[in-house]
């Protein structure tokens, strides 16, 4: 089977700092990582390949340095990597991103064989939208299975797939058809370490690099800024609250005294709460 997985290289946002005066992001020196949610999808793709044999192609759209993320994915065991990179893609919102990626997936299909499953991360940690996966599915007219907790079975003969999918208040068991697009829930598996062979192969691998033209994209008006219906008008830091927390003086007080004082403060500020808590406590 052929599986395509879309990943994104993202700044490790835990390490991003905002400049206190200019309110701009200080990106210098911030390390990049593979979007953590994508790793669960990658692992699932690798497991399916191992069980059914076939190939995993990992795809990313990004600047030339996104090659690092692809190489990392190869060390985990992906078989092939495709980098979609072109200045025409700069400034893409989710609609333009899903267009570019879907075109590249179509080209991957022509070049290396049609994918049976396309994986995408549940969402990214920098954009956080969870929209690119469904966007790609729609563009390629693939069935879409998001928030999948478990792939129960894949039958390549009958082209059927059954999954457990998270929904509000429970798990849906769904049966669908291949080809489809899947996003995986975090925590559904644990990414493998990758073998020494994989690491050696990753170091030697030639990464397929496509520009917009290389991926067969003719209509550039659907890419990047021009292809993005949404417009970012303003970026700003959340305003600080006017006053800091009222501090309870802790000097020379026992925890018991402190606790009584805190509770008094709570009920002074929220008088209605006292009754509610009492009733809750009794129920």
């Amino acid at each position: 089977m052929h599986i395509v997985i879309c990943i994104k290289q993202v700044p490790d946002s835990a390490q991003i700092r905002v400049h206190p005066v200019t309110n701009t992001i200080m990106r210098q020196g911030v390390p990049t990582i593979i979007n953590p949610y994508d790793l669960f999808a990658l692992e699932e793709a690798l497991r399916l390949r191992d069980a059914h044999s076939g190939e995993v192609t990992v795809l990313t759209m990004g600047p030339p340095m996104a090659e690092d993320a692809l190489r990392k994915a190869l060390t985990y065991g992906a078989d092939r990597a495709v980098l979609l990179t072109d200045r025409y893609f700069a400034g893409s919102d989710t609609l333009a991103t899903s267009f570019a990626l879907s075109q590249a997936i179509a080209k991957i299909g022509e070049t290396f064989g049609k994918p049976d499953i396309v994986f995408a991360g549940k969402q990214t940690i920098d954009g956080d939208t969870a929209q690119v996966g469904p966007g790609i599915a729609k563009r390629l007219d693939l069935l879409q299975l998001t928030y999948v907790a478990k792939i129960a079975s894949v039958d390549l003969e009958s082209r059927e797939i059954t999954v457990e999918r998270r929904s509000e208040g429970g798990m849906q068991m769904l049966k669908s058809k291949l080809p489809c697009l899947i996003t995986i829930l975090e925590g559904s598996n644990e990414i493998r370490r990758g073998t020494l062979d994989d690491a050696l192969r990753a170091a030697r691998s030639e990464i397929v690099k496509w520009s917009a033209a290389g991926a067969g994209i003719e209509d550039l008006s659907k890419c990047g800024l021009r292809g993005s219906p949404t417009v970012v008008k303003r970026v700003f830091a959340p305003a600080a609250r006017a006053e800091k927390a009222a501090q309870i003086d802790v000097t020379d007080k026992t925890p018991r005294d402190l606790a009584d004082e805190l509770i008094a403060q709570i009920f002074t500020r929220q008088p209605a709460l006292e009754h509610e808590l009492a009733f809750d406590g009794e129920a």
């Binding site: 700092r17 970012v232 018991r256 805190l262």
Partner: protein, 369 residues
């Protein structure tokens, strides 16, 4: 969210400076729509929260507010319609069809895009729930329009366009996003980010019924079954009135019991910061913050939590935030209302005991007399 910086924005640059020239085909798009999320007979409360927000937008634009109800024939669907009116909708678009009994992407995407193409709303809001996110992405791509996810503030600009503000860069910054040349302007909002509006006594409005032009054999994906979450394991953090949470400052997994004890004593839900989930100390559905749950309790007690921006955005809607932290400079004291610089491990048992003393039935009777 009231934290938006209201200063004059910097001069628009690049694409932001593009003049709005709405193409002719979009000029007749009118009204604000809210998708009323109905699953297994229940309306998700986020839909009512969105109606509250939608009402404000519709009033500013001088247009009508509509709820969109997609469900199976029967009482639950009409109940959802009545709910939409009670929370402020002027009218409801409804598609009643057995194929809409349980959520599947295919019929719901078809139903929603058909309605939009037929009745042409200028704004379409959905809850950023599992269902809402699955549906919104497909609908926006089908319609080739803009979609802004997880907004924390919605407003109407002077020229009438939707200004959708959302966190960016892992929550460190906010950005305001417009969909200038396409309609509808779509946005999702997470549960509990907007306040629940008051329920009105006049649950009446116009109903416009539409059909789902689909048959079961048109739908490839089949539902084999549904496994409800066991009640016991289910955390209802988002809608709890009181939440007690612990962070890394608690030091060891055993100390989480102190948080659970306090929560049990006052009938609260308990939660945690993200590192605890990453360590496997608590399940993911107890995580509070940007990548966890947004909460809006009357009282939030945070013990041993530093108050990183990603945590802050999830708790800012709380009426009263109490922070217990050993570090007087912890960022949590910048947005908590009451702070106490002390060791949570020693303090939590004392607090639990003090609450128990104060709230014992005996004591309550005494207070009442």
């Amino acid at each position: 969210m009231s934290t938006a910086n209201r200063e004059t924005p910097p001069p628009a640059a690049g694409r932001a400076g593009m003049k709005k020239e709405l193409p002719e085909r979009f000029k007749h798009y009118r009204h604000v729509w809210v998708f009323i999320e109905l699953e297994r007979g229940q309306v998700h409360p986020v839909s009512f929260e969105l109606l509250g927000e939608g009402r404000k937008l519709a009033d500013k634009l001088g247009v009508e507010l509509a709820g969109v109800v997609l469900g199976p024939p029967g009482e639950a669907t009409w109940h959802a319609v009545a709910g939409a009116f009670a929370y402020g909708a002027d009218l409801a678009y409804i598609i009643e069809d057995p194929l809409l009994a349980h959520y599947r992407n295919e019929p719901f995407t078809r139903a929603m895009t058909d309605l939009v193409n037929t009745y042409k709303p200028e704004i379409l809001l959905l809850g950023a729930t599992i269902l809402g996110r699955d549906l919104a992405g497909s609908v926006a791509t089908t319609l080739l329009t803009g979609l802004t996810a997880d907004c924390t503030e919605l407003d109407v600009d002077i020229d009438g366009s939707l200004a959708a503000t959302r966190p960016t860069f892992g929550g460190s910054l906010l950005c305001t996003i417009y969909t200038l040349n396409y309609r509808p302007q779509m946005a999702t909002v997470r549960p509990r980010v907007m306040a629940m509006p008051a329920r009105t006594d006049k649950p009446v409005g116009r109903v416009i019924q539409h059909k789902l032009f689909m048959a079961e054999q048109d739908i490839v994906t089949k539902i084999l079954g549904f496994l409800p979450d066991s009640q016991s394991a289910k955390a209802n953090l988002a809608y709890a009135d009181v939440v007690v949470a612990g962070g890394l400052g608690l030091g060891a997994v055993e100390n989480l019991q102190l948080v659970k004890n306090l929560a049990a004593a006052i009938g609260a839900e308990y939660g945690c910061s993200r590192p605890l989930v990453q360590k496997g100390w608590m399940p993911a559905d107890r995580q509070i913050g940007q990548t966890g749950k947004t909460i809006r309790p009357k009282l939030y007690i945070a013990a041993g939590i530093s108050g990183a921006i990603q945590h802050r955005v999830g708790v800012e809607g709380a009426d009263l935030i109490v922070a217990i932290n050993t570090d007087p400079n912890a960022p949590i004291f910048d947005f908590a209302h009451v702070g106490i610089v002390t060791d949570a491990i020693r303090f939590l048992p004392a607090l639990t005991e003090a609450f128990t003393r104060r709230l014992s039935p005996h004591n309550r009777d005494k207070l009442a007399s």
